[in-house]
């Protein structure tokens, strides 16, 4: 019974830490737009937090530039378990328009494990909210099946 309560609580109060790993800040202003009256994510209990210690989901924007890479790693390590990573936009996925440039590492998954990718350049605020909701569902599924291991098998079979 307590297990279900904890799962419900995690679903209802995902706190997000936004990290700009060298983006053109289009995704960043779209993420900040989700906090404002028209999209208002506080309805879902989502709060934007300042310190990695308080965050559940790390929302990374931008193709990780070489200088940001180890800082991104450090921020990820500081977050308490269970932690999830959402990579925003085409840049977050593969480096997008900046793929192959000499100072870019082409994608967030080159540095830290990513759980959800959001498409778009930049994704609209409602697409970002949809990405976060997908991440919450994934979090819920993980909690129900005890951790991430089941995902590896699913990827193989899917």
């Amino acid at each position: 019974m307590f297990e279900r309560l904890v799962r419900w609580a995690r679903r209802k109060s995902p706190w997000i830490l936004h990290f700009n790993s060298g983006a053109c800040n289009a995704c960043d202003i779209e993420f900040v737009a989700t906090l404002t009256p028209r999209f208002d994510v506080e309805r879902f209990g989502i709060l934007a937090k300042g310190t990695p210690r308080h965050a559940d989901i790390l929302l990374v924007t931008g193709p990780v530039t070489r200088k940001q890479a180890d800082r991104l790693r450090r921020i990820y390590d500081q977050m308490p378990e269970p932690k999830y990573v959402v990579a925003t936009g085409a840049c977050g996925a593969t480096g997008g328009i900046f793929r192959g440039l000499y100072h870019v590492v082409d994608g967030v998954d080159k540095v830290i494990p990513v759980d959800v990718w959001i498409a778009g350049c930049p994704p609209r605020p409602d697409e970002i909210i949809d990405g976060i909701v997908t991440c919450i569902q994934l979090m819920d599924e993980d909690a129900r099946r005890g951790g991430r291991e089941w995902r590896a098998s699913r990827e193989v079979s899917a």
Binding site: K67, Y102, K110
Partner: protein
């Protein structure tokens, strides 16, 4: 356009491009002045006279703003282009060509402080050494970028074997 010759700094009403060109041709170290449009001029600059010319432009000719310094690698040489602008919108681009293998030029930071950051950018990406610059350190590239490589040079290709900084773990850190 009353122009007052004289030592002390007077903000002179800047003459239109053509008249400025005429007066520029008289300046020592400046050659083949070209008027591109009503508000654009370009000229070649002898690297040795960089400081003298900019000092004169600032004091006597009333140019008030060093808008930018661009480094251009023209394979034959590296051109450091000083874009100087007047209050009425005229922009003069002074091109100083320095040899590729030993790109050295005087820094103009104490003439125009705005140059501090532009020179560091040219140094970082093209390797131009600005003599007299108080704080000439790498600007853009990350800490463990190999010291002797300048990405904006035409002949530069990323060398796969070398590490240009980046993820501490390297490789694909799948979860």
């Amino acid at each position: 356009m009353a122009r007052v010759q004289g030592g002390e700094r007077v903000t002179v009403g800047p003459p239109p491009a053509e008249e400025l060109a005429v007066r520029l041709r008289g300046v020592e170290g400046v050659s083949d002045v070209v008027v591109q449009s009503s508000r654009r001029l370009s000229a070649r600059l002898n690297p040795a006279h960089v400081r003298a010319v900019l000092l004169r432009l600032r004091d006597a000719e009333g140019c008030w703003h060093l808008s930018a310094i661009s480094g251009v690698d023209t394979r034959a040489s590296i051109e450091v282009v000083y874009h100087v602008s007047w209050r009425d919108g005229v922009v003069l681009s002074l091109k100083a060509a320095v040899p590729r293998d030993e790109p050295r030029i005087d820094s103009v930071v104490d003439v125009m402080p705005a140059a501090n950051l532009y020179e560091r950018q040219a140094h970082d990406l093209l390797g131009v050494v600005f003599v007299g610059h108080p704080d000439l350190r790498r600007i853009l590239l990350n800490e463990d970028w190999p010291a002797d490589e300048y990405p904006l040079r035409k002949d530069w290709k990323p060398d796969p074997k070398k590490r240009y900084g980046g993820p501490a773990t390297g490789g694909d850190a799948r979860g």
